[in-house]
């Protein structure tokens, strides 16, 4: 059985730089990230458990959205008219958010990014459960980070584990947690 160890969310319109300064402060790469990656990074900072920064292969990072990297894609497309920006281009991939979280936390397990038409607990739970078919995956940081524009986003994430003592990771509990 999968259980929820913890949950984090970042309300739409949050000042991400202020949140970073309050909670983190020592990771200058944060300022190079696009908004979706900043959101994923900050969610992971809230969910990361001790001991931190020790390499582990049993932790997966699974990220879901509707917009993928579209918000940053628009910034890159603007740069193309002048000089195409390599540092914007590298963020035009929906899975870079999983890479940023993996790098920061030294999570060397599975990382996957999915694009769905909308958030539904049914699809979200099913895809996360399926990821646990990999026997090496003991826990997963999985979330919905949908960045429609730099100031318009939905962002929440769960730390889910095999066994554990939290409430069951199922459709009802995900729905209940997310709609609070």
């Amino acid at each position: 059985m999968l259980t929820i160890r913890s949950f984090a969310s970042i309300p739409g319109g949050t000042d991400l730089t202020a949140l970073y300064r309050a909670r983190v402060g020592d990771y200058p790469k944060f300022f190079k990230m696009d908004t979706a990656c900043k959101l994923g990074f900050l969610l992971a900072e809230q969910l990361a458990d001790a001991p931190r920064f020790e390499p582990r292969e049993d932790r997966a990072v699974l990220m879901f959205s509707t917009c993928g990297s579209l918000c940053n894609d628009r910034h890159y497309e603007e740069s193309v008219r002048d000089f195409p920006s390599p540092s914007l281009f590298v963020y035009t991939l929906p899975n870079i958010i999983t890479g940023e979280i993996a790098i920061r936390n030294k999570y060397a397990g599975e990382t996957s990014a999915y694009v769905l038409e909308r958030f539904t607990p049914e699809t979200f739970v099913a895809l996360v459960e399926q990821a646990f078919q990999d026997g090496d995956t003991g826990s997963a940081l999985c979330g919905w980070v949908d960045c429609r524009a730099d100031d318009d986003f939905t962002a929440f994430a769960f730390l889910v584990e095999r066994g554990g003592t939290g409430m069951e990771f199922n459709v009802e509990n995900v729905y209940g947690t997310v709609s609070q």
């Binding site: 195409p84 035009t92 899975n95 940023e100 060397a108 399926q130």
Partner: protein
């Protein structure tokens, strides 16, 4: 445990409109890589493998959506399944989809996935796997997981990518493109070429034919655009899929082989660490270019055809070894009697993936 097998395939590429046509073209040593000047309004010339847009664009659809749906249609037909059944799922693999229309249309990847499901009257939610350059491989693995998770009889996995100013200028800004046809694993390799293709596989349960036996995705946790210098994630993915399989059983490892300095070097280290220095290694990027979201599906299908024909496909563009480990790069067409292979890919975001395919009787 029930076996997940491939029951229908399709490939649309500049080299052909069926898997057989594409396989024959690869065997003949062909490639559609050519130099384009002014294409997509890109200032700098570039070498790429591009499809005939006019031929493949359906009325009222974008080129991308057209080849996605056409590749799916052909694979569904080959498999003889009911695509409208609620017990059939669709998984789309792409990185940039319709991004060329970013300024004028809704280009979210999920829109393309919905149109794919709608084209077949399928009621299930559209799922897009967008995991950088390993997307196609990850989508096949996802298809396997959906079946093993229960509730479905078939999964149609479609991988597709079309090129655009957006993508070409991006890779140019990263100085990642070669000005000549690429040379995977070669001493003179200096970058990749981009490519367009769509390929689809229908997965189902069965005892016959090609089994998608296992798969793994692992992250380097090192850098978002540079591969690990120690091949960490690629090695871990290989180690996972080969945990119950002897390297002796493998006909070959079909690698990513993008022909960038760092990727091919990294893969050679991962192959060495996984104990695969005696297994032939080949790459198809010199034939099709880097077809991004299509690559995992396209290259897996051609590898299945190669084993069926008892051959190890050549690595077009390779002549002189140029990686630090003595990997057995297959420069010319080889023969094999083995019945299993590994498909390997890596991508931005530090992501790496390996799939193990086998046929009845393979010793793993």
């Amino acid at each position: 445990m029930k076996k997940v097998v491939c029951i229908g395939e399709s490939i649309l590429s500049p080299l052909g409109a069926t898997p057989a046509e594409n396989f024959a073209a690869v065997c003949r040593g062909e490639s559609a890589l050519r130099r384009y000047e002014g294409m997509f309004g890109v200032k700098e010339p570039f070498v790429a493998s591009l499809m005939d847009r006019e031929r493949w664009t359906a009325p009222g659809r974008t080129f991308f959506d057209s080849i996605v749906i056409e590749a799916a249609r052909r694979a569904v037909e080959a498999a003889g399944i009911d695509p409208a059944s609620p017990r059939t799922a669709f998984v789309l693999s792409t990185i940039k989809g319709n991004v060329e229309y970013i300024e004028t249309q809704d280009v979210t990847l999920a829109c393309s996935a919905r149109r794919l499901a709608e084209a077949f009257g399928n009621p299930n939610p559209a799922v897009v796997v967008s995991n950088a350059c390993i997307s196609g491989l990850a989508a096949l693995l996802q298809g396997r997981r959906i079946l093993l998770g229960g509730g479905f009889d078939h999964v149609v996995v479609v991988g597709a990518e079309v090129q655009s100013r957006f993508i070409v200028t991006g890779f140019q800004s990263l100085k990642a493109l070669s000005e000549a046809p690429c040379k995977p694993f070669d001493a003179r390799r200096d970058g990749l070429n981009l490519g367009e293709a769509a390929a689809a596989v229908v997965l189902g349960f069965g005892d016959e034919g090609w089994e998608l036996a296992d798969g793994a995705v692992r992250n380097d946790a090192n850098h978002i655009s540079g591969p690990s210098r120690t091949g960490e994630g690629s090695y871990k993915a290989l180690r996972h899929v080969l945990r119950n399989c002897s390297p002796d059983a493998l006909a070959f490892v079909n690698v990513h082989g993008t022909s960038t300095l760092y990727n091919d070097e990294m893969e050679s280290i991962a192959i060495d660490r996984a104990g695969l220095l005696d297994v032939p290694v080949n790459a198809l990027k010199g034939v099709f270019g880097h077809t991004m979201g299509a690559a995992g599906v396209l290259e897996s299908i051609l590898s299945m055809h190669a084993v069926d024909a008892g051959v190890v496909l050549p690595t077009r563009g390779f002549s002189e070894p140029g990686v630090s480990r003595p990997v057995k790069v297959s420069a010319t067409m080889g023969k094999t009697t083995k019945q299993a292979f590994v498909k390997l890919l890596s991508g931005f975001g530090g992501v790496n993936g390996a799939l193990l395919f086998r046929k009845g009787g393979a010793g793993c």
